[in-house]
Subunit: 486 residues, 4 copies
Amino acid sequence: MTFFSPFAQDDDRPREECGIFATYNNDDAFAHTVLGLHALQHRGQEAAGIVCYDGKTFNAHRAVGLVGDNFNDPKVVDLLVGPAAIGHVRYSTAGGSAARNIQPLYADLDLGGFAIAHNGNLTNAHILRQELTSKGSLFQSTADTEVIIHLMARSLRRHRIDRLVEALSQVEGAYSIVALNEKMVIGVRDPLGVRPLVIGKIGESYILASESCALDIMGAEFIRDVEPGEVVILDSDGLHSRFPFPRLKPRSCIFEYLYFARPDSVMEGVSVYESRKRAGEELAKESHVPADVVVPVPDSGVPAALGYANQAQIPFELGIIRNHYVGRTFIEPTQQIRHLGVKLKHNANSARLKGQRVILVDDSIVRGTTSIKIVEMVRAAGATEVHMRIAAPPTASPCYYGIDTPEKNELLAHKMPGSEMAAHIGVDSLAFISVDGLYQAVAGTKRDNDSPQYCDACFTNSYPTRLSDKEEKRSAPQLSLLSETA
Amino acid sequence: MTFFSPFAQDDDRPREECGIFATYNNDDAFAHTVLGLHALQHRGQEAAGIVCYDGKTFNAHRAVGLVGDNFNDPKVVDLLVGPAAIGHVRYSTAGGSAARNIQPLYADLDLGGFAIAHNGNLTNAHILRQELTSKGSLFQSTADTEVIIHLMARSLRRHRIDRLVEALSQVEGAYSIVALNEKMVIGVRDPLGVRPLVIGKIGESYILASESCALDIMGAEFIRDVEPGEVVILDSDGLHSRFPFPRLKPRSCIFEYLYFARPDSVMEGVSVYESRKRAGEELAKESHVPADVVVPVPDSGVPAALGYANQAQIPFELGIIRNHYVGRTFIEPTQQIRHLGVKLKHNANSARLKGQRVILVDDSIVRGTTSIKIVEMVRAAGATEVHMRIAAPPTASPCYYGIDTPEKNELLAHKMPGSEMAAHIGVDSLAFISVDGLYQAVAGTKRDNDSPQYCDACFTNSYPTRLSDKEEKRSAPQLSLLSETA
Amino acid sequence: MTFFSPFAQDDDRPREECGIFATYNNDDAFAHTVLGLHALQHRGQEAAGIVCYDGKTFNAHRAVGLVGDNFNDPKVVDLLVGPAAIGHVRYSTAGGSAARNIQPLYADLDLGGFAIAHNGNLTNAHILRQELTSKGSLFQSTADTEVIIHLMARSLRRHRIDRLVEALSQVEGAYSIVALNEKMVIGVRDPLGVRPLVIGKIGESYILASESCALDIMGAEFIRDVEPGEVVILDSDGLHSRFPFPRLKPRSCIFEYLYFARPDSVMEGVSVYESRKRAGEELAKESHVPADVVVPVPDSGVPAALGYANQAQIPFELGIIRNHYVGRTFIEPTQQIRHLGVKLKHNANSARLKGQRVILVDDSIVRGTTSIKIVEMVRAAGATEVHMRIAAPPTASPCYYGIDTPEKNELLAHKMPGSEMAAHIGVDSLAFISVDGLYQAVAGTKRDNDSPQYCDACFTNSYPTRLSDKEEKRSAPQLSLLSETA
Amino acid sequence: MTFFSPFAQDDDRPREECGIFATYNNDDAFAHTVLGLHALQHRGQEAAGIVCYDGKTFNAHRAVGLVGDNFNDPKVVDLLVGPAAIGHVRYSTAGGSAARNIQPLYADLDLGGFAIAHNGNLTNAHILRQELTSKGSLFQSTADTEVIIHLMARSLRRHRIDRLVEALSQVEGAYSIVALNEKMVIGVRDPLGVRPLVIGKIGESYILASESCALDIMGAEFIRDVEPGEVVILDSDGLHSRFPFPRLKPRSCIFEYLYFARPDSVMEGVSVYESRKRAGEELAKESHVPADVVVPVPDSGVPAALGYANQAQIPFELGIIRNHYVGRTFIEPTQQIRHLGVKLKHNANSARLKGQRVILVDDSIVRGTTSIKIVEMVRAAGATEVHMRIAAPPTASPCYYGIDTPEKNELLAHKMPGSEMAAHIGVDSLAFISVDGLYQAVAGTKRDNDSPQYCDACFTNSYPTRLSDKEEKRSAPQLSLLSETA
């Protein structure tokens, strides 16, 4: 008898690695940070952390689990006081070392305390780490983020903000960052603006958050997106802005619109919900087939399916029901149950599928394993035809900018040509939205192939930064030599 | 600074009190029971328990929390072996005494061990309890179910099944029951069939479960509903049936269709999803107003909203987004945050609401407090008109048959006439489905007022059984004299 | 690789099963009960429980572990308020069912709430339990004490105190009891007075406790021993006394003096420490051999060794050092380590043993397994001769009155004649104190063989009560059919 | 109502800060380390940690609590495999940051993994820390030991052992160290040999441990003490020795003999038990008064009291009984109970004290608060005279070498002349052993005042090393800026 995790089933879904939140000069700093992280929980469900500064001491709580389960202990509430806070939600790394990787990270620099939380991924972190280690730096985590702190610790600059800029000038990759010292909160978005970061305001207090939905939850006002390459400072004088990095043409992640961001968020002026609906419409324009019913794979496929159904003028029905009460792990005693494991989350609504020609709409295909089970379930429920329509282009390349995708050779779109996929998944037909169709849905225009408007490397293999670690085949951080029980 | 529970917010929703599951002669008895209870988690999320019989000893595990979090400990897996199991999910009672009320209950009768799990509520439990206590019976829980065991313990019959029938002949109210002794699993549905119970089969093993979705999760075959008043026995010879109670005209709970049951379940031959969609259609027929968009209150209002939108030929849109990552408790430091608390679960999708005339479709109104906040949020997002349509008639009377509704004087429909409710909730118009419309949606026919086809007491105040405890004003179980730390 | 418990090692020592404490009309009822149980911790280290009555509700906390680890949680402190409390420390039974056996037990009788804690053991509990079960009583624990509550529940008397007396009139065996209802604390000592119970006073509040050391810890005054067969009532009028049982000649347990009671306690006017020292003196008179040093087996052998050394005029030395920091369990990976396991608790002080003729003084031999290891260790440290002197007569019969001794056929004194024991244990000579010598040490007089002054059944096989369960071979309580995870 | 800790009561006792253990090439490396740390538990009861190397990965478990409670989880046992291990027991620092200070510390140096455990204290750690931080080193703990790792990380040497020597050449103070890398275990004792470290052997495997009792527990052979200034290497070739530091005249800590070390340990050829007994004898020679009974303050005063009683020819009696079952914390509701708090651990054995002239023998007086309570208790039990004799000279100066003593101005011997102390403590007479008497007891010779044989700074204020942090008034480590919930 073995165990499996329902999250492991989600290996067939890409996973965002982080959400961040910060506020300054805010009487409800801790409570707002808890609420904001809760609203960002979809960006990372495995662990959460908050660091507050009470005017004298930095106080931290970091824990494995949901925000709503970990910040209500009176001991925690009493500790995390003060008008400044930053927070982070994340997926955990494998193994027992999770605890020391939970952000925000904190260090005592010679200039004072410094806490930092990071959404994104650095593509030269291993090279930098090795160089720092060879010069005598000792790492306490395996997080790439720690490289930034060590670069700051070795900087000769007199101000932490200058040290941070200097450190970030040496890193490659994607980062939206919030940081906290005794005097301010700092927010930074990398020059390409790969990961989102927005500015809000509640009363007189400014807020930084990964998505606008984290403002809505507490009734805060949306001010604007942090611009790519911008450094924002929240201090006792309010909000200040700098642009210390060479300016580049922005290329924010187009996958955020398709999959990660919450549908009620608005990013760079675009409604996530609307862009998903339009992707469904584009898909219907590009690849419609006669059918009786359009069925979303819940929950993330719903907006695209609505758009598809509207465009194609076919009934939209909840032909698959999702169970949201999923705990940490389930036992799985027999092969028979393993085979049917997907039903832990999804069940066919047979009344709506029997004898029908079904168009299934999903947001992406990664490995394809979940799709196979869903299709099998839909056919078992009596569907006469199953056509699958995907609101993203084929995912053929991994993300190195903070999204947890499988290795390239596990990606279905890398393993076989599109023409073989339909048979592999067991559908009567399969179609993906085109890259141009996707751009049309999100931006209302085609892709500018000379200078693409978004990072779409997972679809096009065109990476907007160097991938130094990958090029030099650096991958295993030395620190993995130590394992610990939780 | 005080704390509140997000579940407490749901005080404005009725709550099912239990789900039950049983299987016999099944090599995967424990694993199937875990999966079945997971599929029934919507019927009770606060605690779960399983009792197995290994041929020699009854083994139990009962815990507060979700099924998926509590049955994966190797210690539990190694203990709960054997080919027979019954299980239960429930909402906890208030206070620290929850642990001893988690079902299945177990007793050593003089005839041997006996475990029992119960969905429903007995309406003369306090009277019986007092009489039993005065004769020397000692109660170990405050669960009404324990009365049944004590009646069995005092019975003179020679067989446990006869004792169970004798005990049930003395109780009033609603019950679907599964029980386990050394030789069999017993399933019983009360003569009115208020709560559901279905029979399934996987391989050669029979299953009893509250809903058919608990069969689907493991690929089990649906056989039939247990009939009202039927006693079903699963033993080494297979399945046997008896009808030991006086036969009554069945009156199963119509609220199960509207709200409690999972939409992918089929009850008494009726698809729950379809009956909800038809309720939306009926609602549109009865009370449509001109509008731009139909928006469901997620998740339970979705099917009715689809039906409404189809019937009314108005676009269906996800104008409210639900956050499913809700933990146990949140801090709530200020009045400002308390006021906006509802956004922990729901956020407006402003892009879809601004400047629109919105029809909000929900499944029921209990206290009305949630509705007020939802409407306020939708208006704040820019809706020009808000009309609310409810897929249930006004809930004006409490349920005494296993659904956790507020006291009568807290029910909005009891506190004010329908004509005042719209203003109270803040909508431009408010309409409920008619009782006949609801019957039409579920059964395809109007209510037979001389002999109603369903229990609809919460809408009509017409209770199908005596309410002896209520009539004699018995309510506080004596056992509440003892409180314990968890 | 397997695990063993250091407590399991103590299988070679008899174990007291319980300590009890109660107070009434006491502003510090909970705190005093915690302190009192801490002072009685030597009587039971596995679990502890307290029930308080706050004037309206009985409140309870019961937990596995030491008193000092389990009653400091603010949640517990805030719950256990009110001026009346009873408490209990105990050894756990095997298996996961420990929790429901932790005393005080509580029941809602028809006359009101009733909590009870018991030190001792009933010798007809299984017979009574079976009879009660056949009449419809349901047991919630496997504790013999629960029989008393069921007998009370079925009694026709109008007052709980009369019901308690009626119930106790039906039981056989040994019991010191404290009980609590809404109006009083009740203390009872069985007519033979097998287990101790004393009365104390602090300020205006009365206390009942197993030993006088539980009074000393809080500076309470010792009033007197509860008399055998006495029922003591603490209520708002102070202390009342009744003698409702037929009077018998008292026979308190002589083993309490030798081993269980704390040396600083005074029982029936006799100092426990002094009686142990005198036992050592008697032993020296009865069986001295020439030697260089007297070494106690710590800690319980120390007073007797001091007496022996004084009497024999030989130096007393700590030749064996005890490690008190023993946790719950240790791993034991190899046979080699298992063999040397005893050193977890004891180590030889080689400097004091090398080249010496050693007299080892211990308080008892049960199985003999610990003695073998101790002797082996002392010889390995260089002792030239090892003589063992035991301050108790050979333990040849099990206790049925609340002391956890092995089955008869595991007792070394039952397995072989005294003449073979020395060789078995590996000593050059072995002697036990005589029964008369022991009486002399404790009471200053010989045993009255016609009417013994003490219960000494473990040495003499002369049991002062019937042993009905044993005679009828009743042993397994039916309730053991259910096992539960903790 | 407030809480207090029974350990806090021990603020009146000095506390050893650490015990260390290491083994290499040992099939039972983990089990032996667990046993060895258990035997060293008296040197630190608050936390314990073990790091093993399995040939590929370093694996660690560190936890708050006793050894016997924290290393039996199968998850831990399965992780901590491999033939090399080092371990540590310690007292925790205040606050929530304990976890990251639990040793062994571990770092990934550029040369590979390195784990280190330290007994002692560095007297220039804060200065070094500040210099390292200003050069860009980031500290993960507040332990002085981490300085050593950072010095190693910055060293230019090619071998870790040379780096360790170089690092230790820069530190001041006291250290016995065990360290582990992929190829060896390293043991070091500082050039003065302040803290103990011994070499043992079991089968073919070498062991390093703080005291010889940690060898006895598993039946290992004592080989010899590590010499002051010696570096010992355990590798696959066996045991190697180096002396890389300038040689100094050894000055091991004399307080280890008096108080810290277990009485069954032998240090530098001297039995700890015997030196304590001889101290009692010296005390009797120096300051005897007529009395009836000699009573030790248990447990640590027992050997000296035996020596005193022997020398003075007065009966030795256990006039004070100690309760060893002390948990973590107790509630303390009233001033009355606080006043009597000391009885949680000690109770008077009145039978032995009433009407007696009592000589109380204790091992040291620090603040004097415990002594006051003990004396009060002995008088309340009826003693007619109370004379206190202390087997150490007056403790007038704090220890900076790894023993947790109060600040100087809290030391009783600093606050008042000896002539006032007797009245302060409430005794009829008070005497301390002389420094020469103590040297006589331990070494059989007087103190060589020109070149003392031991570190006796706590008695003589003569510190054998520089105290740079103290001289420069460095004390608060910068890292204390961050507090964390456990």
